[in-house]
Symmetry: C2
Subunit: 218 residues, 2 copies
DNA sequence: AATTATTAATGTGTCGACAATATATGTTGA
DNA sequence: TCAACATATATTGTCGACACATTAATAATT
């Protein structure tokens, strides 16, 4: 089962997506269709299909008759994303408190415990460096059971957030406080207190943003 | 100037977008690429490009090797959108209060006055039936000066909201209260009170959603 | 007659080639 | 030497045709 036989365009999308997220293709660099098509041994049609989807999740930008460029990262754009996340994930936490299932609660608590162990073991460093933090947020969004919210955060914005985390690094000393904040959010959701869950999630994300503002204030 | 000479795919997108939004192509109906390509007298490649963009703004859904269907509307999906709007437009109002320019404030106030006149003249009915209400929200989002927020609301979700408004109609008796709520939001933004602006905008959208929940509770 | 197998049709996915546009190169004139 | 124009090259946009998957229609078996 779950034997999704993928199209060429799908595979090309996956390839380019990770290549862009991990910086193998430099931010701001131009994407030459003939060259890439030859390197990946696919037709330009399939490649263009893939590029179209990359554009949909904001990993590339296209200009008419000029072509596609890998998105260029900036402090300002990152902060914009944090504002959007504060709004959307705050709402996601609120809805999760209303709609989460019993199984999802236990799964979320298990995830939180696993994170706690990892952070304690690694002394706070390694975990948040990788995409572990995103996993937590990902699960809460899923538990909102709002398909559009899920699509926006887990399909459209997800890869871009990974890209920033990958390339800006995650030097944060906020591992322990962030972990606490996570546990508060889980408690509020488990209690079914949507108002509190949204408040806590928004504060959590706002603190992350402020932390970044501090660190990269040129 | 502003003489954007458009691609074929752009024109096809515009054509199909309005056709779908206005219901000329029925919700849930299948899109046959060969047939449409022949009717519009364009190649399938250009048509597929356009369909890809329609998918990006959720006007059609595509399944691999099966094809594209016009999105089917439902009460549940509409309420999901309202939750997303409450979160995003609330944040937009907050940011607008911080970032709006003097010119934009006067433009917004003029827009509000025009709306008031129209609603009074038409006795509340006609204006909110058309996309006038969306204009107001559109302007506030623009004034947030958050590019990602603007893109999400004014590019991705905008057409879908128009589609619901077009097809579900807008029977609302809430024209006058809604107009009041609009004016409160503008005041808060003009005062630079982001906290208040967000609160008022969220309440406004939540009331719209509750109103819809009442009307279409089967 | 109902149900499964097999075949025909329709439609989507992919490809290579041509046309339109933008960029790079080279030439001319002041 | 530099600027402006003309030419050449490379890239994107568009097209029609073929390969493959899905659906419909037909045939076969119980």
């Amino acid at each position: 089962m779950t034997n999704m036989k993928k199209n060429i365009a799908d595979r090309v999308f996956d390839t380019l997506c990770t290549a862009i997220v991990e910086g193998e293709i430099a931010p701001g660099s131009k994407i030459s269709e003939p060259e890439l098509a030859k390197r990946l041994k696919v037709s330009r049609a399939s490649l263009r299909e893939a590029i179209g989807r990359l554009e949909a999740c904001s990993l590339v930008t296209r200009k008419a008759n000029i072509g596609a460029r890998v998105v260029s990262l900036s402090k300002e754009k990152l902060l914009e994303i944090y504002h959007v996340r504060e709004a959307l994930e705050g709402m996601a936490a609120r809805l999760a408190a209303q709609n989460i299932t019993a199984e999802e609660i236990t799964q979320l608590q298990q995830l939180l415990k696993r994170h706690t162990d990892e952070v304690n073991q690694a002394d706070g460093a390694s975990y948040f460096q990788r995409s572990g933090d995103l996993d937590f947020h990902y699960h809460i969004v899923q538990s909102s059971h709002n398909e559009r919210l899920i699509s926006l955060l887990c399909n459209d914005l997800y890869h871009l957030m990974r890209m920033y985390r990958y390339q800006f690094g995650r030097v944060s000393q906020r591992a322990f406080p962030a972990l606490d904040e996570h546990s508060y959010v889980v408690s509020a959701i488990a209690d079914g207190d949507g108002e509190m869950a949204e408040l806590l999630m928004r504060n959590h994300i706002r603190r992350s943003r402020r932390n970044i503002e501090q660190m990269i204030k040129t």
